[in-house]
């Protein structure tokens, strides 16, 4: 294979195939280098200046998000964000999307998504303690989708189970728009046993750059490169743009990296994982952050395949690899340390002071460019935005459902895939390994204790793209608040947020509007409850045949539980406990699951979210939990009160008898800011004096699994056992 010359790249505009625009190429050749970049160099710019690495389309928007709080030790810009949780401990977390790889190779795409996010956590020196996953697919109608779902779920479980991290929460939802563009987002949470950490930097003249982990192959190299046959040999078909994971190696790498930072901090100056754009992005970012230069010798890079070009090695996204910057004095110690873990570790370069990024391959200098030009000189784009036409058209539309049989609708709603139990999926994930999981999937938030303390961490993944589709700003607010309610209902104090912003093409003004407004909504909600956004990830261009997915921001939130005694779960505990609905219910049916069920589509605007009420209700729940008044607590989300009541009853096979001022339809309204709680009957007076908000005493828990419900329209008695079967079996049945 012969590489095209610099001149060919320019004349034939080969850079365009790699995603660089004419003006970007001009900027590189005329302003930055003042010469034509060669093949390898053009490749480096093309990946480093891609949206994925540079955030050139989204940076301006991302700046809107709050990222400060007294707890923040590290925010966006590092591999993951860090929050102080007291007692010299800190929590580290981040979420990552792997949408495109999962569409192409669902098992490996999902698995390497999990692998990648775990590396982001341990590269901060933190011990990973839990995983979460947020998945969106097309409806479970055809074999292809079921296969895709099976493989994605198997990939997530395969990686997490093997490496030995509990998956304690997540979400799965189904909408038409994801049929050809599934969303696979994974989140990892880690614990740092001190409040200092290693930045991903490479500084200090002559300090060494060490490569650790799996060998480099041709996997994951910018797919577009291989699309053009001219530059590849005849074995093109033998190549693959798909990364394959090896959780076994990652386990060794994880244990080694955590140990080296914990026990031998003085050896290591900086550490970073090789994620997207592998070797180039990790090393260039490390050098650029430190204001240093770098010399790399690619002949030293452990290689799995033969005859790899510099371009291929630099861009490879082979998994399970890390880069360290160390002092030469400790070289022997470091190499021996990794050898003991049976990991490849080699010196591949050193730090310089001239700010240049120099790469040698087979004794040729194949790259010589300013480091900062890869990371700092990327143009930032200010995209146009316009309000989507559907929002203008449907502004005044209000969906008012008619319920002819409460019982029938109730049973049907429990079977809707978006509402039905997701146990079929999450039971394939080990949720208990490490023996620290106190609340497993199935409730509001997952809870993992911090061994040796009274503390625990609550965590959740939330998104409702139906809402963001109808109104990106309000939908963004709701995503944050829903996450917060899940944390609060579990007994936690929300302390921070990570996100995955899954959107369409930013060059489409309507799609950009969705991104921008969603972020504004997220920001305003985070400001209010003081949860800084400390890390996150952007995935744009999610579309198929030019039809974009719903705007789908995913919120990952972590909460601190200062005393494990406060942990509250959704399940009703015993008969005669009193059931309360906290918060006011209105006719919120636009974007609801009921609207989907009745009309097969969603339509109309959302009612503004009353942030003050939201906060008031959350604070109320926190207070009541702190006063030990609450026996069970569940936030209301899709399917409204009817679904929340059912789920709370299923947990311990109990029933309930209630009488409400709501209509039958309102049982399914999705008004925000509400909670369902139970308390012991003797605490009634004490509890009600706390309640300076809208609330309704609905009735009480009963022993028999029977749901006796009186609305303003009718009185029904619903078979709880049947309801539970419907809810539990809906997904296994569809997956058959």
């Amino acid at each position: 294979m012969t590489e095209p010359t610099a001149k060919q790249i320019k004349d034939e505009k080969i850079y365009q195939q790699w995603g660089l625009t004419d003006s970007e190429y001009e900027l590189i050749s005329q302003k930055i280098l003042k010469r034509l970049p060669n093949y390898t160099e053009t490749g480096l710019y093309s990946v480093m200046w891609s949206e994925h690495c540079s955030y050139k389309n989204s940076k301006k928007v991302l700046r809107k998000m709050p990222n400060k709080s007294p707890r923040v030790l590290a925010g966006p810009g590092e591999d993951a964000g860090i929050l102080d949780i007291g007692d010299d401990q800190a929590v580290v977390f981040k979420a990552e999307s792997h949408n495109h790889p999962s569409a192409v190779e669902p098992y490996q795409g999902a698995a390497t998504g999990v692998g990648g996010i775990i590396r982001d956590i341990f590269s901060m020196g933190a011990t990973p303690i839990a995983l979460l996953d947020s998945l969106k697919f097309g409806p479970l109608k055809n074999g292809q989708t079921k296969h895709l779902v099976n493989e994605v779920v198997a990939g997530i479980g395969g990686y997490g189970n093997c490496i030995g991290l509990p998956t304690v929460g997540g979400e799965v939802s189904f909408e038409d728009c994801y049929e050809h563009n599934p969303l696979v987002n994974a989140m990892c949470v880690g614990l740092l046993n001190k409040t200092e950490f290693k930045h991903g930097t490479a500084s200090g003249d002559n300090n060494l750059i060490i490569y650790v982990g799996a060998k480099t192959g041709r996997d994951g190299i910018h797919g577009a490169t291989f699309a053009s046959d001219e530059f590849t040999d005849t074995k093109n078909k033998q190549r693959s743009a798909v990364q394959v994971g090896n959780p076994f190696i990652e386990k060794l790498l994880m244990d080694a990296c955590v140990e080296i930072i914990e026990k031998h901090s003085e050896w290591v100056l900086g550490i970073q994982d090789m994620g997207a754009a592998g070797l180039v992005s990790s090393t260039a970012e490390m050098a650029s952050k430190a204001g240093s230069g770098l010399v790399l010798n690619l002949d030293k890079v452990p290689q799995r395949e033969t005859k790899m070009s510099a371009y291929e090695m630099m861009l490879s996204e082979s998994q399970e690899r890390m880069v360290l910057c160390i002092k030469p004095d400790y070289l022997e110690e470091v190499l021996n340390f990794f050898r003991d873990y049976e990991l490849d570790a080699v010196v591949i370069g050193r730090v310089t002071t001239d700010g240049q990024y120099k790469i040698y391959h087979q004794n040729n200098l194949v790259t010589d460019i300013p480091v900062d030009s890869l990371t700092e000189d990327v143009p930032e784009y200010d995209r146009q935005e316009t309000e989507p036409q559907r929002m203008i058209d449907d502004k005044d539309y209000r969906f008012i459902p008619e319920i002819t049989s409460l019982e029938e609708t109730w049973q049907e709603m429990l079977q809707r895939p978006n509402i039905a139990s997701k146990k079929h999926f999450y039971q394939t994930y080990d949720s208990q390994v490490k023996a620290n999981t106190l609340v497993r999937p199935g409730g509001d938030a997952g809870v993992v204790r911090i061994r040796g303390t009274k503390k625990a961490l609550a965590m959740t993944n939330d998104s409702n793209s139906k809402y963001t589709y109808l109104n990106p700003f309000i939908g963004g607010q709701i995503a944050v608040m829903e996450a917060a309610r899940n944390i609060v209902a579990t007994g936690g104090e929300p302390i921070g947020v990570t996100d995955c912003l899954n959107f369409g093409n930013p060059e489409d003004p309507e799609a950009f509007y969705e991104l921008d407004k969603s972020v504004e909504g997220i920001s305003s909600a985070c400001e209010l409850i003081k949860t800084p956004v400390i890390s996150g990830n952007v995935s744009l261009y999610n579309e198929y045949n030019e039809v974009a997915i719903y705007p789908s921001p995913m919120i990952g939130m972590v909460g601190l539980i200062d005393d494990i005694d406060k942990i509250t779960t959704i399940g009703f505990k015993k008969a005669d406990d009193l059931i309360y609905l906290i918060g006011q219910t209105q006719d919120d049916f636009n974007g609801s699951e009921l609207q989907m069920q009745k009309t097969g589509a969603i339509k109309g605007d959302l009612r503004p979210l009353d942030l003050q009420t939201e906060k008031f209700n959350q604070d109320l729940i926190k207070t009541a939990i702190a006063q030990k008044l609450i026996k069970s607590c569940h936030d209301l989300s899709e399917g409204g009160l009817a679904v929340a009541l059912s789920e709370s009853a299923f947990d311990n096979q109990l029933g309930f008898e209630i009488k409400t001022t709501l209509t039958s339809a309102q049982m399914f309204s999705e008004t925000q800011s509400r909670f369902l709680v139970t308390i012991a009957a003797e605490d009634q007076v004490k509890f009600e004096t706390l309640l300076q908000t809208d609330f309704e005493l609905l009735g009480q828990v009963t022993t028999e699994p029977e749901f006796v419900v009186t609305t303003t329209d009718e009185k029904v008695s619903i078979d709880g056992r049947q309801a539970e079967t419907n809810w539990k079996e809906a997904i296994p049945c569809l997956m058959k």
Partner: protein, 82 residues
Amino acid sequence: MKLVKVYVTLKKSVLDAQGEAIKSAINTMGYDKVADVHMGKYFELSFADDYNAMEKDVDAICDELLANPNIETYRYEIAEAE
């Protein structure tokens, strides 16, 4: 009755994590002449009858289910079932 034997292997460029682990185990056991190990999947599909479109169907089954063309290649043999 026809028996179709399908072999699915990873493309050469794709990391064969299992193969690597098995190779190093074999070497540790003292068989140092083994230079390389690859692991793949092996399927036996029995078809009730022979029919015209059988080969076309096997191709489709391999493409859509047994192998992922992005990372794997496959080959098969058709034999008479005993």
